[in-house]
């Protein structure tokens, strides 16, 4: 017997895609140049809410290189086209039409109002300045409380309200728990907080870009999107094109984080313009455009109440959310906060729960999915209030969590929000994390520093999180009125030379699917890692799929790959039996070979592939192909979890926060590639920490985004972050054959409350029990010295750098 090859799954392979991505030897959408291609530039509204009373494009049309200038009415004379919202969260949801280019009114600063088409991108941009638009200002609606106040001015006059929908879950009605009001009124301890989830910018690295080629009967669209399949169907439906005449290609895409889970006005406008002109059209945005017009994330006001008995047993949880949708609903729209509804109860056994959410319009850029989408918000609120409850009870915050979490022998466990967690082991992850972190040692140091009255105080923050991912069981989506299913497709093509092409409906944009899928298939089929090519992102080769978001690619798409491989093997088994003149039942398949049990007669799968290609000698009735495809629809979500511990040093003189150490032990089930997992964790942590400390999209009172450049919107770099200690426990998911759970969002979801808890913990003895995010030095300083938790508020002006150039120049004009 030969030794078994070392399994590919579990190996920390360097990613296949790295070389071309790092050296730039790939083709991004903006690199695509077609014969006769013209360029589109968009004029964007400088004002947040106004009626367009006149628009004169004649001078722009005379500019050098200009081919055409279009207004909203030019592209859509009937005013019928609106960008899709796939998730109407209630039957009576108010869904304003979001046109390609503004028609009649502009509803946020940055909304496109006209398109210039020119021979070069530079000429198109030059001509924008020549378009004359008259705006008649309308009252600007900003801020959730303002928008829902009685008599508030309206974003969409014709809707009669700024509220889009109200969505409620009540455990007493769902039969999954008790009545929360009763629980709260009969409890020993009640803690209430209002948390603000500031608005964030997804900040993907590659700006959005689209190229549309209308010169063949089948229109081809390249887009820097994370959802080519959804885009194809939605563009067809939105613009009334026959779906079979649309091909969408997402080439290599430089990040998305949910920000490219969208069907955008820019994409649709490019299609319409290309069709009008009969020429290929390219639009690539500048970073300044991304900041104001690509959707933002978060932006919620959370009123949360938790009740408990004196011994720390939680008795009830009540959440009332206001969620700022911006001026329109995006493709997921109100579904983002609804996804969070299932996660406020987190890892805890909570007997009564009520959640209500009102989605609200304001004159701002729309919000939609951003890494974690609803779940980071929920996790933040529950993990923050657990610390506040512990403080109120005088309990150690970890003890309080232990007292309430689901024990490892209680799985599967159906929560108060009706999800069934298949597996988990919070005790194991926590024990490992506490030890790596030296929890007791840090608590001692914290006490010493407090006693000495040190200038720099130490704080410890905990986040024991879980998330629902692997979106999603189609039936569950149906019950939530989501407009599509949650399955994923894969196909495997066995080539005559023994090489393998794997087609996936997931659409990577930086994650490393090519590597991970190759590892899975290498083990499944027993072929070499390098003999496998992963095809994705082109609706012509990958004809079916639901793309990449919600940590779904591996847990849904990866399982489809396994299922397709199983079918390949089943087909090959028939042929192998025939070729070796043995019974199928006598064949064993291992290491890429079928062996007749008890003999050394064997045939490699590559040989079978060649024999099937020749088709000279196949059993009767067997099709001459091993190629197979599968669609996997999960029966349940997956539930990664982890214990994150953060130590911060807070300079009480300046308010500056420094992360001293960060330990996380995550349980994401089985791991395909530990290096990719590590990368996802590090990036995820950075993004979650960024929400806690640095990032915020700030609007001034006119609705102008003042944090419109990276000089003012502070994305941290490695310089600002500590060296993370990441580790894992491995409790296999029981809901899929690989036992995998997903890791794409874990770091982002878990880290934000860990950091904020740590900062509050550092200065709690100074009377601080909350500080609004992001915890800027000024906010922390004010909280410590003035007892002001919302201090500093969102500033009206950006600070330093380009922002200050901006205001100085603005002032001089």
């Amino acid at each position: 017997m030969t030794a078994m090859a070392e399994p590919e799954v579990g190996r920390a392979r360097v990613r296949k895609e790295d070389e071309r991505l790092i050296t730039g030897r790939t083709r991004w959408t903006d690199n695509i140049t077609l014969p006769g291609m013209v360029h589109m530039a968009l004029l964007r509204s400088p004002t947040a809410h106004a009626r367009i009373t006149a628009m004169d494009t004649s001078a722009a049309k005379e500019m050098p290189g200009v081919i055409a200038v279009y207004t909203g009415d030019d592209l859509d004379p009937g005013g019928e086209v609106g960008m899709p919202n796939a998730w109407p969260i209630t039957p009576d949801q108010k869904t304003p039409r979001r046109p390609m280019l503004a028609q009649g009114t502009v509803n946020f600063a940055g909304e496109a109002v006209a398109a210039v088409i020119a021979r070069s991108a530079a000429e198109a941009e030059d001509a924008l300045a020549e378009i004359d638009v008259d705006y008649e200002d309308l009252p600007v609606v900003l801020g959730l409380d303002n928008a829902v106040a009685d008599g508030a001015p309206l974003v969409h006059e014709d809707m009669g309200t700024n509220k889009s929908a109200e969505w409620i879950f009540d455990s007493s009605q769902a039969g999954s728990g008790g009545d929360v009001q009763q629980a709260i009124s009969s409890s020993d301890v009640v803690v209430t907080r209002r948390f603000r989830q500031q608005r964030l910018v997804p900040a993907f690295m590659e700006p959005r870009s689209v190229v549309v080629d209308p010169t063949a009967p089948q229109l081809t669209m390249w887009s820097a999107t994370q959802v080519p399949h959804i885009l194809k169907t939605m563009v067809a439906m939105t613009l009334g094109l026959p779906e079979h005449h649309v091909r969408v290609i997402a080439p290599d895409v430089g990040g998305g984080f949910g920000g490219k889970l969208a069907v955008t006005p820019e994409e649709c406008a490019a299609v319409v313009v290309a069709q009008k002109l009969g020429k290929p059209v390219k639009w690539t945005e500048s970073r300044s455009e991304t900041m104001v017009s690509a959707h933002h994330g978060r932006d919620q006001m959370q009123d949360i109440t938790i009740s408990a008995s004196r011994d720390g047993t939680i008795t009830g949880l009540k959440v009332d959310l206001l969620a700022d949708m911006g001026a329109y609903l995006g493709i997921v729209g109100g579904g983002v906060p609804v996804l969070g509804a299932f996660m406020f109860n987190a890892i805890y056994k909570i007997p009564a729960y009520r959640f209500s959410c009102t989605t609200v319009f304001t004159n701002t850029t729309l919000t939609d999915a951003y890494r974690g989408a609803g779940r980071p918000e929920a996790t933040f609120a529950i993990e923050r209030i657990m610390d506040e409850l512990a403080a109120e009870l005088g309990m150690d915050p970890m003890q309080l969590r232990e007292k309430n979490w689901i024990a490892h022998d209680e799985f599967p466990y159906t929560t108060v929000s009706t999800l069934t967690y298949d597996s988990g082991n919070y005790e194991a992850a926590t024990a490992k994390a506490m030890q790596l972190f030296d929890y007791d040692g840090l608590r001692r140091e914290q006490a010493e520093r407090r006693d000495r009255g040190d200038r720099v105080q130490l704080g410890i923050g905990i986040s024991t999180f879980t998330e629902m991912c692997g979106l999603a069981p189609s039936r569950v989506l149906g019950s939530l009125d989501y407009g599509a299913g949650g399955w994923e497709h894969a196909a495997i093509r066995m080539l005559p030379t023994g090489k393998v092409e794997v087609v996936t409906g997931a659409s990577p944009h930086g994650q490393g699917h090519e590597t991970a899928w190759s590892q899975i298939v290498a083990d499944q089929l027993g072929v070499g890692f390098d003999d496998i090519e992963i095809l994705h992102g082109d609706t012509q080769s990958s004809h079916k799929g639901l793309d990449t978001y919600g940590s779904r690619s591996l847990t849904v798409g990866g399982i489809a790959v396994v299922k397709a491989a199983e079918k390949v093997i089943a087909k090959a088994r028939k042929v192998a039996a025939h070729l070796m003149e043995a019974s199928e039942d006598d064949l064993e398949f291992a290491d890429g070979k079928f062996t007749v049990r008890g003999t050394d007669t064997s045939t490699a799968i590559q040989d079978i592939a060649l024999a099937v290609f020749a088709a000279h000698d196949l059993p009767d009735g067997v099709e001459p192909t091993l190629d197979s495809e599968a669609v996997f629809d999960p029966e349940n979500f997956s539930f990664p979890h982890g214990t994150h511990l953060c130590a911060t040093e807070v300079d009480t003189e300046t308010g500056q926060v420094r992360l001293r150490s960060y330990v996380c032990v995550d349980d994401i089930g089985k791991v395909i590639n530990p290096l990719i997992v590590e990368g996802q964790m590090h990036g995820g942590l950075a993004q979650g920490i960024a929400q806690a400390l640095y990032e915020e999209a700030v609007y001034d009172e006119f609705g102008t985004l003042t944090s419109g450049t990276f000089a003012d919107y502070l994305v941290p770099s490695a310089m600002d972050l500590p060296s993370f200690t990441t580790d894992r426990t491995e409790t296999a998911a029981t809901s899929n054959p690989l036992g995998v759970k997903g890791v794409g969002e874990a770091g982002t979801i878990a880290s934000t409350p860990a950091v904020v808890n740590a900062v509050v913990d550092a200065v709690r003895h100074r009377g601080v029990n909350d500080i609004e995010m992001p915890l800027s030095p000024m906010r922390v300083w004010r909280a410590v010295h003035k007892g002001d938790t919302a201090a500093g508020g969102p500033g009206a002006e950006a600070g330093g750098g380009l922002g200050s150039i901006d205001s100085a120049h603005g002032g001089a004009q």
Binding site: T654, L714, I805, D806
Partner: protein, 284 residues
């Protein structure tokens, strides 16, 4: 983010550059390292008709010894300033401040002269230039003149440079043997200063013989913390003296308000950071 069209000239001498600027009139702009100008052009906050690139003028680059002063060519990059032995020996404060500017990419392209001419109040090299009593050598259509740092900086992004003037070099009086520290406060590593304090001292024994302190971003122009300097000179530099002296740091400042800091917080930071800067400078 494509700049508006402009003509481009790249003269090889300062005289030619001045002539090119004069010929092009009001709407010409000088290009040094481009680290501030290019974003401004790309965002179309400015649209000059002519851009005069100084990159090919050899005489504007480098550092030389001129007896009682170190002379730094306007086109010397941050990277070269950081590493220059003359700067290190005679104007250590400037080297320390330059270390904190942006990131390596920016420091390889951005120039000392460009930073001063740009006059962003949050820029890190203005306060050290002021504290060290630097003089700007300027060439315009009427020839060369020398302007003190105190006269040079006039307002937000405004200096005494006329449109056809070129900042040629900067004379920094030697502060040989002075220790120095630049205390920069910002929110992420690559960001501009919210507030920063440039401090350099000459110690004799444990006593402060001389002190020069400049504040970054505490007004529309860099500010000299004279009251702090006076409170330190002739005193032994113990923690209590430094703390008490630093209490004067906010005097005469008028900082702006932005999302990161209001006036009260900036003035508070100025005091705390001044104490820290002086302490670190004294420690060498």
């Amino acid at each position: 983010m494509i700049p508006a069209p402009f003509d481009y000239v790249a003269p090889s001498t300062v005289d030619e550059a001045v002539r090119a600027l004069a010929d092009a009139g009001e709407d010409a702009k000088v290009l040094a390292g481009g680290q501030s100008l290019l974003p401004v052009l790309r965002m179309r906050l400015a649209a000059p008709t002519t851009v005069v690139d100084l990159g090919k003028i050899g005489e504007l680059k480098g550092v030389r010894d001129e007896g009682d002063a170190v002379v730094i060519g306007a086109m010397t990059t941050h990277y070269d300033v950081q590493r220059d032995p003359l700067v290190h020996d005679h104007a250590l404060l400037l080297a320390r401040a330059t270390d904190t500017v942006a990131d390596p990419q920016v420091r390889h392209r951005g120039t000392f002269g460009g930073s001063l001419a740009h006059a962003d109040p949050a820029g890190d090299l203005l306060a050290p230039a002021l504290a060290l009593d630097a003089e700007m050598v300027i060439q315009g259509t009427g020839g060369r003149r020398t302007v003190s740092a105190a006269e040079f900086f006039q307002d937000f992004f405004t200096t005494s440079l006329a449109p056809e003037d070129i900042l040629v070099e900067v004379r920094v009086p030697k502060h040989t043997g002075w220790t120095a520290h630049y205390e920069k406060f910002n929110r992420v590593a690559q960001a501009w200063s919210m507030v920063a304090v440039a401090a350099t001292v000459r110690a004799e024994g444990g006593t402060v013989a001389e002190a020069r302190i400049g504040l970054t971003n505490m007004a529309s122009i860099p500010v000299r913390a004279t009251a702090v300097e006076q409170a330190l000179v002739g005193r032994s530099a113990d923690a209590e003296t430094i703390r008490a002296a630093a209490e004067h740091a906010a005097e005469g400042t008028s900082p702006t308000v932005d999302g990161n800091a209001d006036v009260e917080y900036r003035q508070h930071l100025a005091k705390v950071l001044t104490g820290r800067a002086v302490e670190a400078a004294m420690a060498g």
